[in-house]
Symmetry: C2
Subunit: 329 residues, 2 copies
Amino acid sequence: MNFRDTYQDKKILITGGLGFVGSNLAHTLLEIGAQVTTLDIADPESGANPFNLDGIKSQVRVIEADIRDGQMLREAVEGQDIIFNLAGEMSHIGSMTDPFKDLNVNTVGHLTLLEMCRLHNPDVHIVFAGTRQVYGRATYLPVDEKHLLTPLDNNGVSKRAGEMYHIVYHHVHGIITSVLRMTNTYGARMRIRDARLTFIGWWVRQLLEGKPIQVYGDGKQVRDMNHVDDVIDAFLRCACHPKAQGQIYNLGGEPITLLDLAKLMVEEFGSGSYELVPFPENRRRIDIGDYYGDYNLIRSELGWQPRISHRQGIRRMLDYYLQYAERYF
Amino acid sequence: MNFRDTYQDKKILITGGLGFVGSNLAHTLLEIGAQVTTLDIADPESGANPFNLDGIKSQVRVIEADIRDGQMLREAVEGQDIIFNLAGEMSHIGSMTDPFKDLNVNTVGHLTLLEMCRLHNPDVHIVFAGTRQVYGRATYLPVDEKHLLTPLDNNGVSKRAGEMYHIVYHHVHGIITSVLRMTNTYGARMRIRDARLTFIGWWVRQLLEGKPIQVYGDGKQVRDMNHVDDVIDAFLRCACHPKAQGQIYNLGGEPITLLDLAKLMVEEFGSGSYELVPFPENRRRIDIGDYYGDYNLIRSELGWQPRISHRQGIRRMLDYYLQYAERYF
C-alpha cells in the first residue's frame, strides 16, 4: 500500500495553513482524501494569504487563531489524527528587529500546542517544520544532523527551542513527534511581496516587474533548495512512518550557487537580468555562508529524496506566478 | 598580575545574587575589591535567601526585580563592567509542571537583559550560567562541548535557548559574552529545603534531621560535581580572559557514584545513613543517567580546574549548615 493511501479519511490539522508550505499541504491532502483543518493567524507579514486556499476553501475547516491561544488550540487539536505544525515566525531579519515577538510565537506558541495535545489528544502525530537555520555557519559540508547547532540569529534560537520542545514531549510524554529541518523551499503560493521571508520569492517579483534580480555579494554562496512538492512528500512520509517517531531529519537538494540560480531563473523566465549588489549590513551579519544539507538519514529511513530538478521546479513556480502574480503583490 | 587583582574597583552586577552561586560570588567579589550590585526577584522557591548576603548586606547594592522587567534591568545594567548572569529557573521538575513559567523567565528574561545591554551598555562583559542539562543523556563520556544537545526536560530547552541568545548577541551585536555549563554544584548557601533544585541540598537536610539519605534507583548513577568555590573561580576567570569571549565551557569534576557520595557525606557528617529507594516516576522520565563532563577546554584556555576534593568540599558545606541550618529550612 502506498503511504499516500493511508491519508484517506484521516483528520489533519495544519497550523500555518494559509502560508506557503501549509496551503500546498492542504491542497495535496484533499487530493488524497484527508479531512483538513487549517489554523492560521492570517497575518500577511507571516506569509499567510487567503488566496492560497483558492479552489479548496469550501472543503477545508478554516480557523483564524493565534497558536498562543490555548482555548482555540484545544478545540483545533481535539480529534485530529495528525498535526502538521508549520505556524511560526520565520523571518531572520524580523527576529533581529523584534526578538520578543519571534521568541514568543515560536516558543510559547509551540509549547501551547504541545500542552494541548498532551492534555486533550495525546495519541496525535505531530510533524514540526524546522529549519536548517539552527545550524548557523557550516563547519563542514554537506551538513548532517550531527552538526553542531550554533544559530546566527534570534530566529534560529527560537526555532531550535521549538524543535527541542517537540522532542522532549515525545521522550517524556510519549506524544509522537518528528522534525523536518527545511532548507530553502520554493514554489507556488510563496510570499513574493518583498525579501522579508525568502530571497527566491523576492527574485520572482523582480523578474515579473522587469527589474534586475539583486544578488548579494559575489553570488558564489552555495545553497540547496527544494521544490515545495518535494517538501510536502517529506511531510507526508514523516507523519505515517514508525521510524520517524522522535526523529529529526534534514531535507536538502542539489547545491547551487546563488549566481547560477539567478541565471537559471532568468533563462526559464525568458527575459530579465541579474546584478551583483553589496550585502546590506544587517544581512551580512547573520548570513550563514555556504550551506547544503546531507539528507541521507531521511533517504535511508523514509525513502525520501528530492525528485523535482531545479529547472523543472523554477518553471512550475514561474508558471504559477505568471497566472496569479497580482494575488501576491 | 593575578587575574583576581583585575577586579579591584570593578562594577559588577550579579543577577540571581540572592541565590546559591550568586551570593557566594558576591562574597568573593567584595573580598577582592569589586563594587557589587545584586538583582534578584527574591522568590524563595528559586533558591533566593536574604540570609545569603549576611555580613555583606551593607556593602552591596541590592535590587529586588524580575529580570523580565526592562526598566529595572536598564537601570541595573547601566555603568556595569561585568554582569554575572545567574538568574533563572533551574528546577527540572518545576519545568515539567509549569513549562510556561520556566520558558518565560529563562528566555524573555535573558533576552531582556541582552537587549538592555545592547541598547545601554554594549561594552559590558557577560558570563551566563549554563547547565550540563542541555546535553540530555550522554552518548559518550566524558561529555565535551561538541556533544549533541538533546535536553530531556523543558528546563534544558529554555536554558539552551538562553545560552544561544548570549552567543548570538556576541556574534551579531558584538557584546562580550561567555557561557559556563555548570554541573552539580554544592557548598555553603545552597537551598536545602527540599529536593526541588538539587539532590545534594536535600541530602544535607536529611542528614541534619537524622533521616536516612534517599538515593534513587541502585545508586550506581555516575555524576560529577564542583564545590561552589571552584565554580566561582571559573566565573572570575571567564569574565576577564580574552579567550573566553563568545565561548562555551563545560565545568566538571571527578566522577563519583551517587552511592559513594552518600557514603562520603555520612562519613564526614559522622553519623546518619542512606537507603536505596525506587525512582519516582516523574524523575525517572527526565533522569539523564550517567554523566560527567570533559573540562579540558576551560583548563587549557583559562587555566581552570577543580581544586577542592569532594571530601574537603563536603566537609566545608556540612560545617556551614551545622552552624546556619535553621536559616535554610
